[in-house]
Subunit: 278 residues, 4 copies
């Protein structure tokens, strides 16, 4: 007897071994509240660039919002519930954008790409949420004489250097003010899944939103300072699956830096509120 | 101005940086013939199990074909064109099955899962072809006093030991006979992509076929011998995204082993002939 | 003109490229004070075993001190000055012992072996200080529902599982009391370097001491709880350079556990006070 | 009762667990003949440089022999007996030199440094034989459209790119001639072990020789072609334990390339004939 997919349960390939476990469905179907964990240290650097360079990265029905400020943010995550307490690291590049659909009209942070150093969250979140996650190596940053350095690489080719220094710690009041500040509607994505055999066509193409609410997220410590970002130009031979992405960032004009930060947080939310934008 | 997807070009997330490169589309859109490369060493062990245990792993419209023989095959691949000459490793578990659809009626090897140790081929082939690829560590096998050993692990938890020994090299005639032997219609998969936000429903669910033809594949050397397979039972804490898969294989009764082999091949084919089964 | 070793400078192989940099000599010969850094999280579990099993691990002129309590301690270290702010991890097994030499009579912690996951500190500290450092994989521990788990592995063979739970945080007073508690004279080692060609003889064989003083070490947080240690028996094929070590620990009788702790510290000392015991 | 070192047995730190296993002593003390294994693929590129730049790298009693030709050779090794059939990779930089001692007068290849990607052979061979082995990452080379590329890196910093192309396969006659060609007396090393506590002094400092005889080594295939070598300049922050080595090679003038080769061999010898030069 072939198996039947159980109604109301989440599945990813392979579907043959019962419901799939992941961030939105644990053992026996339980949810993850993400309270008190995970623990995340995020290093972020922002810079002003040319608006036309960012507009060229927007899918249909998206437009630039506010200033053309790119943020490169690397997060080093531990104590992740759905991984039974393990961690992984991420590196995202985003800028403010608005989605104007037939029904939805939302403004937030458009996440152009999110590198991660573990395949499991890449697969689950690409397919379930529509994040543009791809793989790279993200070793722990170094901290030396007040300077934090991080790198990103793919099979030995380092494509990014980030440095942050001159950090000044925020007071509890500054952190509280920050936690109150409006953050927009959330994080915007464009989910596409190709159709097998009919190359160049898609089975799936829609925008998705990660709503801004993160009720269990608490900022524990935060520092602000100065930083710099250096992407390294790559040939197809050096980065055969990612050279177009890295070279696009390499080509972005850096008109001026707009500050850097290091933020330590705990907690997040049940990541099941992702929705399709129409 | 937002970008437009170029017609006839293949895209994966992120789609914002132009057409995506991968096994079916290189720089400037060229194809990969896979002639003379890649070079692949495959270690395979087969065993007879209970038919009901395999039937429980088959999606709708699939049924067991011939004997319930499971093959565990690990391939160590180098000189891959679409990765500019790099390599990666794979570990698949398959058994013979038939798909009976409205239009298609095909028999081949049902690939229940394919572990790989590099995220890039996992992403592209899950989404474009519908292979049930997931990640694990697959270090080079050891070869010692006539015995080959391979392991597979996920973040330090070793979930598989395979040993092969007593290898006898095939003659050129035996290899030629093998190359002529009927192989069935190809490799069978069941592609599923979940729908964002409507948890428990799928945007995509169809069977796919990798047609058997591999015109550029040449067997260079082959050995036959004896082997064994030992999956290790895992808790959710040990393998939070894969324990259900590994434990299913752990539970398979091994009625008798049906031989082992080591095969060295060069070449493959343009992997664009994958198609949806209906 | 051949080069001359510069007097007063430290050298390791290769000596041909000028003085060697490491923990005791940085660029331009400067020292590392290790104030405020490194940052170390140590997970330790202790157990009572049979005295004869530990006595068998002591070199000449060493004897057991106090109770035969073995401590397995894993340290996860970041912001290391001599590595320009990078980190690495260690795993040590030690018990109390006394060295009675002609001149020196010291009691401390006898460090039987110290695994580390980076070759550079292994090399420099074996050769300069006489620590019995060897290599293994030491991934970040997981933290899940109040339980910390760590593993140690060598090329895919996991040889150790440690679990710690029931942690109760120490008060500032308890930490202060702990910092005042007598710790013995330091850490004891037995340094041996084989003589080339005259196999079975040694160029060097002497005990060394890491004096207990660590003026810049500050305990930031500490928790005490319960823990367990499980070494896994290995064949020569599984651990061809370390099976004898791991199996010795596997064979130790665990009469009773003597508590576990998690300690977060910053700072250490200039590691140049290591000396030979006579 | 403390343990006694068993006479005639080889020991490395830790010495507390019985005789140490390694390339020169296996389980139960047996030797490794290295017949038919290991299997090694070596990629080598040579270039002519300035003699004074090489003389500056020679210890006392060494002098340049023949032309100042540097060879950068990377070996990818599998099926190593003493590692129970596993493998690892190496990268050496050498040039011809003569040692003129009181007793010995030998000419061979002076191995200035040998990077390896596994700590176990680094430790055993530094201490037992006096090779100047240190650690780096050495991923498998890529092979693409007739070009082989290899890299070497340390914690994400790529310090070397080597490319080889235009390869022409040698005939059996050419290989036979090569196997007959005089190779000098062997490989020359300078072994130094620092003395603990008396910083800047050494317990051990002597030259050693790996005699040229490798009775079980068979060249299976060989290709000759053209190649290039590019070391990348490093800051102390980028390579805190190796910047002096890499920068010395970066500074070497490349007057002209002297060819490249790819060589596949099987077998080696019992590596116990290493001896001290006097």
């Amino acid at each position: 007897m072939p198996y039947q997919l159980q109604p109301g349960k989440m599945y990813r390939m392979p579907t043959h071994f019962g419901p799939s476990t992941g961030p939105r469905q644990g053992e026996d179907g339980r949810k993850f509240e993400n309270k008190d964990t995970p623990k995340i240290t995020t290093i972020a650097v922002s810079f002003l660039t040319r608006p036309d360079q960012l507009e060229a990265l927007l899918p249909e029905r998206f437009e630039l919002a506010r200033e053309p400020i790119v943020t490169v943010a690397a997060s080093y995550i531990t104590e992740i519930e759905w991984l039974a307490g393990r961690g992984y690291n991420t590196l995202g590049v985003s800028f403010p954008a608005t989605f104007r659909g037939e029904r939805d009209h939302v403004t937030g942070s458009f996440l152009t790409v999110l590198w991660e150093n573990l395949a499991d969250p890449i697969i689950t979140v690409r397919e379930e949420l529509g994040y543009a996650k791809i793989f790279c190596e993200l070793p722990e940053p170094s901290v030396f004489r007040g300077e934090r350095r991080l790198i990103a690489a793919w099979l030995g080719f380092k494509f990014l250097d980030v440095k942050v220094q001159g950090l000044r710690q925020h007071s509890a009041e500054e952190i509280a003010a920050l936690a109150q500040a409006p953050t927009g509607d959330g994080v915007l994505h464009y989910k596409v899944m190709p159709r097998t055999g009919e190359w160049g066509t898609a089975d799936v193409a829609y925008a998705t939103l990660t709503p801004a609410a993160r009720p269990n997220r608490v900022i524990r410590e935060r520092w602000a300072g100065e930083g710099s970002v250096q992407f390294h130009k790559a040939s197809w031979e050096e980065l055969p699956t990612q050279y177009n992405i890295v070279n696009t960032f390499y080509d972005l004009e850096i008109k001026e830096y707009r500050g850097a930060s290091v933020t330590k947080t705990v907690g997040d939310k049940d990541p099941s509120d992702q929705r399709i934008l129409r």
